[in-house]
Amino acid sequence: MLTVIIPALNEGKTIASVVKFCLAEPLVTEVIVVDDNSEDNTAIIAREAGAKVIVSKIRGKGFSMKEGVEESKNELLVFLDGDIDPYPEGTIKNLTAPLLTDEADFVKGAFARNAGRVTELVAKPLLNILFPGLAHFSQPLSGMIAGRKSFFKKIEFFNDYGVDIGILIDMYLMKARVKEINIGYIENKSKPWEALGKMSKEVSRAIISKTQGQPAAGLTEEDVFSMETINREMNKVLKEELSGFHKMAVFDMDDTILKGRFIDECAKAFGFMPVLQDLRAAEKDPIILTKRIGLMLKGKTMDDLLNVAERIEMVDDIKEVVQSLKGKKYIVGIISSSYTLITNYVKQKIGADFSLAYNQEFIEGRASGEVNLPSYFFGSPESVCGHSFCKTNALQYACEKYNVRMENCIAIGDSKDDRCMVGHAGKGIAFCSNDSLLEKIADLSIRKKSFESLLSLA
């Protein structure tokens, strides 16, 4: 007699079919769906389909599995995923056959599919070094397993992506008889790339943590050093090689994305235009000028400033162009000599990925007049231009952060301030610029208020 345990989270679309599939198997006397506090109607549908439903106290697959084990009445347990529909015929029979014939205490189900990236790049290499006895498993991360309750009760369940590999290693360390069975072809969605980082981290942590205090694993100092060296060198090569594939487009904000300059509009709105003009004429040091202009905004609320920004029109096709660039796998950002409050607002409006600008300090919602200049605008020994304070330094910072080569960047600007950034980017664009030297430095000079033509360079 078998109990099937199905940990489920928001699987209302498939759970009924999975429960019915389990109940159709004559050996199954109990189907437990452990609902992980789903936001849809997974629990109701599962109950209607004939499953016993328990709601997990803590969210996470590991806890759900543990609760399912405690709730089960049979000695032989099968764990299935709730999002696979259909399962190949005979899945449960195949998974439990070695248990019923007493050939195994734990069975891992493998199925035909493209090799999982985390399986191939993380789990298998680590198992090879740390647990060579498990290196032959083709899908060590598979969640379709069967085993004896007495063994499951002795193990500790990880509550993240490490749960399945953790169970396999625990069974191996308990000297349970472990077997891998092919259960046929399953249509399984690959994880989105954003999830792969978390998954890699949790899987590797699970494998490495199981080696601690296990003399059987026999990790020598040389093993540790060699793993560290391989990892370091692999990361270095990957970073270098992958940087060639990443691309970035960086826009200046004032008079480029916006049809005007934010501080000029503030000067008009708050009546300090003459003072601003005098200051610009008198002060040549860009840092002091920035600090002194910041003082003019003292006492203004965030709303005051955002209202001014909202009134400045944007170039008509900026949103479409940003979308097109993103469609071409560009990371899109803003590097501006304005304030992050405004650049972030514009970033949201146009759908860009990041913005780098100065920080106007706010105390209780009002500008203190103090402007903090982020360190990425300042030069370092690695600075490509050598300027002590420059947008190119910020561009270099963004390139390092997003692992993009400067040659793969497009920089778009309009003024003297942008010359260096436009000159150093792989492709520099002068946008409706009055600066003849910027136009000379740039690879492309756009004179219409439209970004469409930059797409030809992307």
């Binding site: 050598g386 190119t392 792989g426 030297l437 000379k440 430095i441 690879d443 033509s453």
Partner: protein
Amino acid sequence: MPNRLYNILVPVTFSGRDKWAMAKAVELANNFNCNIHFVHVVHKYIAPLIPVEASVFTPYESHADRMDSYELLKHMAAVYKAQLCGNGKIEISVLEGNAGKKLADYIRQYDMDMVIVGLSRFNLLQRILSSVSISKLARRTSIPVLAVGSAGLICHFKKIILPVHEEVPLGRIKLATMLARTFKSTIYMLTLRKENNAAEKILNEALEIVQSISTIPVQGIILEGKNLAKSTLDFAKRINADLIMINPLKEFNLPGWWNRLTKKLLTYGSKIPVITVEKNVQQS
């Protein structure tokens, strides 16, 4: 703008000049951590001045040539590999066909950033027979071509000469600032005095561009003279310069009817290494 070099191509002809180009490539590769590509083009016509490839009629012999060349390149790569101290690698390739065309294809296909050629003292016959024309290669590929003679084996480019004619030489300025940043050099921008101050205006613009995109020391110098190439060479010798950067334009041809007739670029009359850069700026 190139912020560093990734791949340097050295066309190998198995002549004595190769070693100067190879040694310079190794120096640059050690500074930029870049790869070097030794490429030999097997190129044999059935008879002089008849542009039909011999390999069409004697494929076996041509194959043997390629194999021999490959073995020689392998040996050369092994010798120079020992001198590489960065992460750079030496790649070798043997191609067959028209040298200029094959090299240009290779440059495009594998994203070369610079070509380095060894240069013997000027000899018209040799230039005619030479498989690689510096100005043609620079024009065809739009990447810098560095010509090094036997006297050009120095380990740095501390003084870079950048002659300016009628336009701001943006491509050369960008390359010069990149090299100057690496070698902590000074850039000397030269131009010839003209009556209407036009030269000064261009020179000032060029100086301002260098200052806009870098903090490299730069000097602007207006020279007296009629031929920019000759004045540049004289000045370079006077200050003991390490590198001259030119465009493959007629302004950089040396004076004299014979030089004009044979289009003798400054490159061929200089003991100082010369980089030839084709200007390539897009405007819409």
